[in-house]
C-alpha cells in the first residue's frame, strides 16, 4: 500500500514518473475509466478550494467517485472523535483517503490507522506533497529543474508549500534565494536539511537585489491562521507586494508562482504578464493529482 505523506519519502524517480504521467494526461493521453469503481474519501478538516476541488475533478476525470466528510459541524468530530477513529471508519468506506488537517503529522497518523492509501493534502504548517508536485510540474513546463535559481518571497516559517517545494528542489541542484519579513525565515531544521543536501541558500533583504537573476519567484501569503498571536501577524502582514515594476528586469524564462489564495502579495496588474503562472499552476493541480491517484490506486 502506497501512502503519499511527505515529498521527502517520494523518490526522485517517482517524482519524475508522476510528472511524466501528468504531462501525458495534460495532452489527453489517459483512460477516462482508469479508476472506475473506485471511491475516494475527501477528508478536509480545514478550508480548501483548489486542493479539494482539484482532487474531486481528478477522480471524476478518471471515472472514480468521491465521498466527502461534509462540514465538521455535522460530523462525529464535534462529538470528540479522534482522528484515528475517523480514519479507521472512513478507510472502510473508500479505496483511498485524501486528508487535510490543522495538526502537523495528522497524515502520518492517518497512514498508521488506515487500511487504504492516504494522500496528505496539507497538515498544519507541515507537508503538502501534491502541491509540491504540481509546483514542480509548473516549473518543468517552462524549464528543466536542474540548477535553476529559485526565489522564495514571503512566509517561509509557516508556509508549508514553500517547505515542501524547497525540499523537493534540493534534489535538483538548485540555488534557493530567500526574501522574508523578519521572524518568518526558514525554520533552522529545514535550513540544515537543505544545506546537508548541498543546496546553496542565499538570504536577501530585498527582492530587487536578486530578482534579475531568478528563474522562478515563488510568492507565498502570510497565513494569518498559522500565527499563534494576532499581534505577531499584524506586525508582518502586508510587508511586500510584487508589481509590474518589480518585474521590469526579469530574465526571459522567468516565471512567477504562487500557491494561491493571494491577498495583497501580487498586484492584479501582474496577472496578464506572460511570466505570471499562478493560475496555470492551480490548473495543473488536476493532471498532477490524476497521476497521483493512479499511482496509489492502481
Amino acid at each position: 500500500m502506497r501512502h503519499i505523506i511527505s515529498i521527502n519519502e517520494v523518490s526522485t524517480g517517482e517524482i519524475d514518473d508522476i510528472l511524466d504521467r501528468a504531462s501525458a494526461i495534460e495532452e489527453g493521453d489517459f483512460d477516462p475509466d482508469a479508476l472506475k469503481g473506485k471511491i475516494l474519501a475527501n477528508l478536509f478538516f480545514e478550508p480548501s478550494t483548489r486542493t479539494q476541488m482539484s482532487f474531486v475533478s481528478a477522480m471524476l476525470r478518471l471515472g472514480g467517485k468521491v465521498i466527502n466528510l461534509g462540514s465538521i459541524e455535522a460530523s462525529s468530530i464535534v462529538k470528540g472523535e479522534t482522528l484515528a477513529d475517523t480514519i479507521r471508519v472512513v478507510s472502510g468506506y473508500a479505496d483511498s483517503i485524501v486528508l487535510r488537517h490543522p495538526k502537523e503529522g495528522a497524515a502520518r497518523l492517518a497512514s498508521e490507522f488506515s487500511d487504504v492509501p492516504v494522500i496528505n493534502a496539507g497538515d498544519g504548517a507541515g507537508q503538502h506533497p501534491s502541491q509540491t508536485l504540481l509546483d514542480l510540474f509548473t516549473i518543468r513546463q517552462s524549464m528543466p529543474l536542474d540548477g535553476i535559481n529559485v526565489g522564495f518571497l514571503g512566509d517561509l516559517r509557516y508556509g508549508r508549500t514553500a517547505h515542501s517545494l524547497a525540499s523537493a528542489l534540493s534534489r535538483y541542484g538548485v540555488t534557493i534565494h530567500t526574501i522574508t519579513p523578519p521572524g518568518l525565515e526558514l525554520p533552522p531544521s529545514l535550513t540544515h536539511d537543505l544545506l546537508d543536501t548541498g543546496t546553496k541558500i542565499v538570504v536577501h533583504e530585498h527582492l530587487e537585489d536578486i530578482i534579475a537573476d531568478l528563474d522562478v519567484l515563488y510568492v507565498t501569503r502570510i497565513q494569518r491562521e498559522r500565527f499563534p498571536d494576532p499581534g505577531a501577524y499584524a506586525s508582518v502582514a502586508h510587508g511586500y507586494r510584487v508589481t509590474p515594476e518589480t518585474l521590469a528586469d526579469v530574465s526571459e524564462r522567468f516565471i512567477l508562482m504562487h500557491p494561491l489564495p493571494r491577498v495583497d502579495e501580487i498586484d492584479p496588474a501582474v496577472d496578464t504578464m506572460p511570466c505570471a503562472q499562478y493560475f496555470k499552476q492551480a490548473r495543473n493541480g488536476v493532471p498532477v493529482r490524476m497521476a497521483m491517484l493512479q499511482k496509489v490506486l492502481l
Binding site: 482522528l83 503529522g105 498544519g124
Partner: protein
Amino acid sequence: MKRKPEEGLLISPIRNGTVIDHIDGGEGLSVLRILGITGRTTESLSVATNVESRQMGKKDIVKIENRELLKKEVDRISLIAPKASINIIREFQVREKIGVEIPSEVIGVIRCPNPGCISNANEPIQSSFACQKRGYRCRYCDTLITRDIASYII
C-alpha cells in the same frame, strides 16, 4: 584524636538492584525521571550528584534497590547520559554490566515541543522520535530537538 571522615564512600553498597554510574554531573535526577521513578514510587534509592570523577570531572551515580533495569529502560537513559554504565547487582556482587546504546527510535519517552503536532493531541498514539546525527526528529511533524532533551521527557 579526631577521626577523619572516610573518603570515597558517599552512598552505601546495595544488596540487589541496579547501579547506574558515569551519569553526566547533574543529570542523575533526570535519569530517575526517564525511568519513571519518583518520590512516590516504592524503590529505595540513593543518588550521588556531582561526585569527583577522574574520567568525567563530575559525575552522578544512582543506585536503585531491588529493581533490575531492562535493556529497553537502559537505552532510554542514553538520551541524557550516553556515557552511563549500568551494573546489575545480586548479593552485593556485580552480576551483569550493560552498556548504554543509543536507540534508532525513541517511543513514548519525550514529548514533541511543537504544540501543533498531532502527537500532542488526544490521539491513541505515542510520541516517536528518530535518533539522527543532529538530534531527535519527531516522526509526526519533523520537529528536531537538538538540545536540552531532559526538559522534554514525559
